[in-house]
């Protein structure tokens, strides 16, 4: 069993790498301009170019993939010749700073032709000093410097080039400078080092928002799962025990009716009936900070929708499986050798009949986590599915990749659980 689990984990890693490459490739090759998607149609060409450069989108795709996977800070640190560190400020902002030889944290900005260092003290306060000693000479006679700016990017500044720009700085007013930032490298530690980067859409670290979404989805999926699955299994078994009986007909037809209605229709009907007409439960989820347990009544309709959609499906699978088992020869044998009805059902029939539904149920955990976009959209529920959809629509690659990775983990994890459950249901199954 231990070997089996190790093998499964290896399989998980390979799947994750493959999926991440595929997601990157698809996002890359699909049409769409990420700057315009995010900033809106009325961006100026300069804004667009600057956005893409500052997000590091002007780098080749393999480089961006590697940065996403393993981080860009080592390369940036080599360029700057200093250690780069990531800190979280008291207010909760993630910031990158360079540590100079004296051990103090620094960032830089240009003020005219002057390089100004922002030095961070132990207590979090900052002071500025002129830091022109750091300019390095280019072969062409101009100067350059690789440092960190206040946007968590490694930046290459130049001066003494042909390009002249006007920049405004405090205390000095307008000054003409000969250069400016020419290359950006957004700093991140990389997915395998626990930092999936910053969402291009929101500018927030993906890790900060995706775990909130994951929690919301877990709550919704968890509640729906604990209600649906026992109920569906129980009702399926009841229906399957007496094929053709009245209770079988009622359960089968009822289950079918709800599972064939698409979830958005079910959702909207439920909103119309319970929220608009009867006014007993809210028809949309409005989250404050403590969501989702702040207002549990807001979860009623989404859970009910999921229950109705899922129930019929799992119920019918369980029923079919149960019917098949009840017809099999060994059940008849069990009856004939005089076992009690209870014992035949629970000891012999149910255990075998559960194999198929368990597979389906485990596959559905994944669907409940990331695939219930429609339910989330109808109720305005801020779940993982909607997050993924928004990321995909906006080609927000860091967010999309991270979401995809979470779903791969859930998929492979639930499959592992299903495999383990099989061994309990059927002792003949052994994994070595």
């Amino acid at each position: 069993m231990g070997k089996f689990i190790v093998r499964r984990l290896g399989f998980l890693v390979i799947t994750m790498i493959l999926v991440s490459i595929v997601v990157f490739a698809i996002t890359e090759s699909s049409p769409g301009n990420v700057a315009r998607n995010i900033l809106g149609a009325f961006v100026t060409p300069e804004q667009e170019a600057s956005f893409l450069a500052q997000m590091g989108m002007d780098k080749p795709v393999w480089k961006r993939y590697l940065y996403w996977l393993a981080g860009s800070d080592t390369q940036a640190s080599r360029k700057a010749g200093m250690d780069l560190v990531r800190i979280r400020t008291e207010k909760g902002f993630v910031e990158w700073w360079a540590r100079d030889d004296a051990g103090t944290l620094r960032r830089w900005k240009l003020s005219g032709d002057d390089l100004v260092a922002i030095v961070r003290q132990q207590d979090g306060s900052v002071s500025t000093v002129n830091d022109n000693g750091r300019w390095r000479k280019n072969s062409g006679g101009s100067y350059y410097f690789w440092g960190v700016d206040n946007g968590n990017r490694a930046v290459k500044w130049e001066k003494g080039t042909d390009k002249t720009v006007w920049t405004f700085s405090l205390g000095k007013g307008w000054a003409e400078s000969s250069g400016g930032a020419v290359e950006y490298l957004p700093l991140k530690k990389g997915f395998i080092r626990g930092d999936p980067g910053v969402s291009m859409l929101t500018g927030r670290p993906v890790a900060d928002s995706i775990f909130v979404r994951l929690r919301n989805s877990l709550v919704l999926a968890g509640i729906a799962f604990t209600i649906v699955m026992p109920m569906a299994l129980l009702l399926g078994i009841i229906a399957g025990l007496r094929e053709g009986s009245l209770q079988d007909r009622v359960l089968s037809v009822g289950g079918m009716v709800f599972s064939v209605i698409p979830e958005f229709a079910t959702g909207i009907f439920l909103i119309l009936i319970f929220s608009v007409w009867l006014k007993i439960v809210p028809g949309a989820t409005v989250f404050g900070e403590l969501a989702p347990w702040q207002r549990l009544d807001m979860l009623i309709l989404p859970v009910l929708t999921l229950t109705l959609v899922e129930l019929g499906y799992v119920l019918r699978i369980t029923r079919a499986s149960m019917v098949e088992v009840m017809r099999s020869a060994y059940i008849r044998t069990a009856y004939l050798k005089g076992l009690s009805y209870k014992r035949v059902i629970f000891k012999h029939a149910v255990r075998n009949a559960l194999m198929a539904p368990i597979t389906v149920i485990m596959l559905h955990v994944n669907w409940l986590m990331g695939g219930i976009v429609i339910v989330e959209v109808v109720f305005g529920y801020p779940g993982l599915g909607k997050y993924l959809l928004d990321s995909a629509m906006n080609k927000d690659i860091n967010a999309l990749e991270t979401g995809a990775m979470i779903l791969v983990i859930v998929a492979v994890g639930t499959q592992l659980i299903a495999d383990i459950i099989y061994t309990f249901l059927n002792p003949r199954i052994r994994y070595t």
């Binding site: 049409p31 769409g32 301009n33 315009r36 998607n37 995010i38 900033l39 809106g40 149609a41 009325f42 961006v43 100026t44 060409p45 300069e46 804004q47 600057s50 207010k91 902002f93 206040n150 946007g151 720009v165 006007w166 920049t167 405004f168 405090l170 007013g173 307008w174 969402s199 859409l201 929101t202 500018g203 927030r204 928002s209 909130v212 909207i268 909103i271 929220s275 608009v276 006014k279 809210p282 028809g283 949309a284 989820t285 409005v286 989250f287 404050g288 900070e289 807001m298 989330e376 959209v377 109808v378 109720f379 305005g380 529920y381 801020p382 909607k386 997050y387 928004d390 629509m393 906006n394």
Partner: protein, 550 residues
């Protein structure tokens, strides 16, 4: 009248016009305020008063306002591309001027201003005794710094294209602790209006460092408590705001505002509005009658309507065949059955357009007849242009804008008799926005702008080299039109200006690159417990003097 106040010569001219009825009261107010006359002067001069919003005598303090809004990424206010984030931050940061719902621009953080007779030198006086929420006092330095940020190429503000076209960094002069002068490259009347563009929020020059979230120091009535993109934004009232309420104590009346991100889909937001879980939907980047239709029969919700210059523009690329031929353009324009389009696409909730990008509430609007639906004439024109058998054309529209799709469908049907075989190409709006300036025939949404000159300068002119400006989606460059427009942008006398606009509009209708079938009304649909809410044609939210009752 304040005898010390020097009146702009145009105002003295206009006063006569006001008397003999050549200028409406509203235009007089607008121009008087634009040119910096104080309310007292206007009332003495014109015998009229500024319309003041009537506030109930007794206001209630306290309470939390809940608004649904997509909490977007923000860093530099000058870089806003959507209105929504400006609406949240509008309660924290303020503007130098204020353009009200009637397109009248009034003093705000700048308490007065004046323009030289040639309109190339503008003097702005900054209001005294205004403090930022971190304790700093607002001075001319803050305004100069803010304008400097727009003009800084590194900041990449879209205001650079607008303000930068007439103002160089060197043209800003500090003339006192509370006064600064702008020396323009060319005359411009809309300077105070540009200071109210949604990305023109004044930042604190002492603390601002490129990311407003890290030092959210503004002069506004609220302070930023929490800003979580994609989730929630919480604002808390400050105690020492510079404006006082009706009860003599500082504004705002409410204690807290929560902007809650419910995603972009309207259905759950409408459901939450109806259930009272939110009080208002910020639909500033989302026009259309859907919210209004859904809530108009609801007893808890008020519907406030505004007529705006928001519209859908049927635009033809004049550098691509067949639209380079004005006869073909004219033929398609004649195929618009405007009454039917307005009724079917926007349920009659607007006014009919005249293929001219100036709407009746623009001050310089010149009355021009609405063209009739003439398929026969269109057919004739197409024949003359060399398409006797008719012509196949592709029309690009985005599927999310249902009224645009219906507009296209009606047009397709009504243009068939004239010989146009229109193939409607629907696509997601994100895809449309990616190539909105590139498609040869498409329908583009345009938002409200308070002045006719503002839109015409944005979309129907060329730059100094004669190349179309960035938002000139049709590439239409007409020399006569360009010259007239430049002339109009420097004329203050409304009568004179309108004369030029009559010509401009005629040119646009006769050989222009666009069809405009309807102007859209917009609505603000708050919960009735919100009192004193202002409906602005740009859907800007002003929450400093609202209060909650009931």
């Amino acid at each position: 009248m304040n005898s010390k106040e020097k009146l702009h010569p145009i105002l003295i001219e206009m006063k006569k016009d006001l008397k003999n009825g050549a200028v409406s009261r509203r235009e007089f107010l607008r121009y008087a305020s634009l040119l910096g006359a104080s309310a007292a002067t206007v009332s003495t001069l014109g015998g009229i008063t500024f319309p003041e919003s009537s506030v109930a005598a007794t206001v209630k303090r306290g309470g939390v306002l809940k608004v649904s809004q997509q909490i977007q990424k923000i860093d530099h206010p000058a870089r806003y591309t959507w209105i929504m984030p400006s609406n949240a931050m509008r309660q924290v940061l303020e503007y130098m001027t204020f353009t009200d719902e009637n397109n009248i621009t009034r003093p705000y953080l700048c308490e007065s201003w004046s323009a030289s007779d040639d309109l190339k030198t503008w003097t702005f006086n900054v209001r005294k005794n205004v403090t930022f929420n971190n304790g700093d006092t607002l001075t001319a330095d803050d305004c100069i710094f803010t304008i400097g940020q727009w003009l800084d190429k590194e900041v990449k503000s879209s205001l650079l294209g607008l303000v930068g076209s007439y103002l160089d960094p060197a043209g800003i002069e500090k003339t006192g602790e509370y006064q600064f002068k702008l020396h323009l490259k060319r005359p411009e009347i809309a300077v105070p209006e540009h200071f109210f563009m949604y990305m023109a929020q004044v930042v604190n020059h002492r603390t601002f460092d490129g990311d407003i979230k890290k030092a959210p120091h503004g002069t506004g009535p609220f302070t930023l408590d929490t800003y979580k993109e994609g989730e929630i934004c919480i604002l808390k009232a400050r105690k020492d705001y510079w404006q006082k309420g009706n009860d003599g104590k500082p504004l705002p009346y409410i204690d807290e505002i929560r902007f809650i991100d419910m995603g972009g889909d309207l259905a759950p937001q409408i459901a939450a509005l109806k259930a009272g879980d939110i009080d208002l939907i910020d639909s500033s980047d989302n026009v259309g009658p859907r919210i209004m239709k859904a809530v108009k029969n609801d007893d808890h919700i008020e519907v406030i309507s505004v007529t705006t210059a928001t519209t859908r523009v049927l635009r033809m690329r004049v550098d691509i065949k067949p639209w380079d031929d004005n006869r073909v353009r004219m033929a398609l324009k004649l195929c618009q059955n405007r009454e039917k389009i307005l009724a079917l696409a926007y349920q009659g909730e607007g006014t009919e357009g005249e293929d001219v990008h100036v709407y009746p509430n623009h001050p310089e609007y010149c009355d021009i007849p609405v063209p009739k639906y003439q398929p026969e004439k269109a057919k004739q024109l197409l024949k003359e242009a060399g398409y006797p058998e008719g012509i196949d054309v592709n029309l690009a529209v985005a599927s999310e804008w249902s009224d645009v799709v219906r507009y296209a469908e009606v047009l397709k049907q009504d243009a068939a008799p004239a010989g146009f075989r229109i193939n409607i190409q629907t696509m997601p709006s994100s895809q449309y926005w990616e190539k909105w300036t590139e498609v040869d025939l498409g329908i583009t949404p345009w938002t409200h702008r308070p002045l006719g000159t503002m839109v015409l300068n944005l979309a129907y002119t060329s730059d100094d080299d004669g190349k179309p400006v960035p938002w000139n989606e049709t590439r239409w460059v007409d020399e006569e039109f360009n010259e007239l427009l430049a002339k109009a942008s420097g004329i203050y006398d409304v009568k004179e200006r309108r004369k030029v606009f009559c010509e401009l509009e005629k040119i646009m209708q006769e050989r222009g690159p666009i069809g405009i079938a309807y102007w859209m009304n917009l609505w603000l649909c708050p919960n009735k417990k919100i009192k004193n809410l202002l409906a602005h044609p740009n859907k800007y939210l002003f929450l400093k003097d609202i209060f909650l009752d009931g």
